[in-house]
Amino acid sequence: MDCREFNDQHLAFVDDTLAGIELVRMQLHLAECRSCAKQDAKVRRALLLFRNLPSIEPSADFSERLEARLKASENDNLFLTTQRNLRRSAIAATVASAMMLGYIGTTLYSDTPRDLVMPPVVATLPEPDFAPITVSAPAIVTSVSAGLTLWPAAVFAEQVPIRFANSSLELANYTR
């Protein structure tokens, strides 16, 4: 072990937290290095002095003063909380009054007649009243001269969904 390593480990050495083998190495170095041994003794002696400093005690009225300060601090807190709440209420009341006054002012003293705003009208398409075709109209069959018989088509139209059939099916009149 060299002096640098000794210095690095010295904190743990003084605190007795070194592992066994490291401790032995430190002790060996101490035995062979006078400079490190001197430094070690100097630190230990200084620490001994510091650790043995007499303890100071709080003054006799420490507890009373603390109690008084705690009470004062509680009162301060209470006062501050009350003040804060009052301030908030005052601000809220002022804002509400200002808004109300503003509203009254604008409604009473405005010269220009305001447009009557009606609610939007939503137009809805009435549900068509569908009636199923129960009787096949002979006009359909007879009116189209396509060379094909239209009777199956009329049957088909009866079978498709009623809405579709009803909206697309029209009587054709080719005589006009």
Partner: protein, 212 residues
């Protein structure tokens, strides 16, 4: 008569509660306080007032101010105990508050030289007062030697840089672990060890001429 009996019962109950609180660890005392037992706070004050006073006094070097700061620590504890994370050690939390207050005090002093001057002057006046630490039955020359030595040690500690001194006091006077010191001073473990090593060596160097 009934009043007297009732008072006696209350005092016996009070004594029991106090004794029970004394037997509890910090965490249990904190729980009792948060559960509405006001006497638990007095128990915490009793446990920590001297330790905190010594810690703050060694850090800032002004006895009266140290008492004020310790009182401030307890006021903060009283106000904010409900916010304390009970998974952590109460002592670490209290020392963190004390350490921060002491740091602020030193910072304020460095900004305001007048305060520093007043403090120094006050300390000079303090020297004229009889010391309460020494045994008055000792021989006068022995008392003088002890007093002189105490002053030298205190002056030597005061010469350490603030961040070294803080770590040094927490370790050597309060016996805190490196991990606790790291938490209190908000540093990592490596920094704590390095500062402590330097503080020890510096302190030894400063005090060596007086004690050799």
């Amino acid at each position: 008569m009934a009043d007297i009996v009732r008072k006696k019962v209350v005092s016996v109950e009070g004594a029991t509660v106090r004794e029970r609180l004394q037997a509890m660890d910090d965490s249990a005392v904190v729980t009792a306080f948060l559960g509405g037992e006001e006497r638990a706070f007095s128990e915490l004050v009793t446990r920590y007032q001297t330790r905190l006073l010594n810690f703050v006094y060694r850090t800032i070097g002004d006895r009266e101010k140290a008492e004020d700061l310790v009182q401030e620590v307890f006021i903060r504890v009283y106000r904010h105990l409900h916010r304390f994370d009970r998974s952590k050690k109460f002592s670490t939390w209290v020392y963190t508050i004390a350490s921060n207050l002491a740091k602020n005090e030193l910072r304020n002093r460095s900004r305001n030289p007048l305060v520093l001057f007043q403090t120094v002057q006050k300390n000079f006046q303090d020297e004229d007062r009889p010391l309460q630490f020494e045994d008055p039955t000792s021989r006068p020359d022995d008392m003088y030697r002890k007093r002189h030595l105490r002053e030298i040690v205190e002056e030597s500690v005061a010469k350490l840089p603030e961040h070294h001194r803080n770590v040094f006091i927490l370790r050597e006077l309060e016996g805190k672990s490196y991990e606790e010191i790291a938490e209190i001073t908000d540093c990592n473990l490596g920094t704590v060890k390095s500062r402590l090593n330097r503080a020890r060596n510096s302190f030894a160097e400063i005090i060596a001429p007086y004690v050799d």
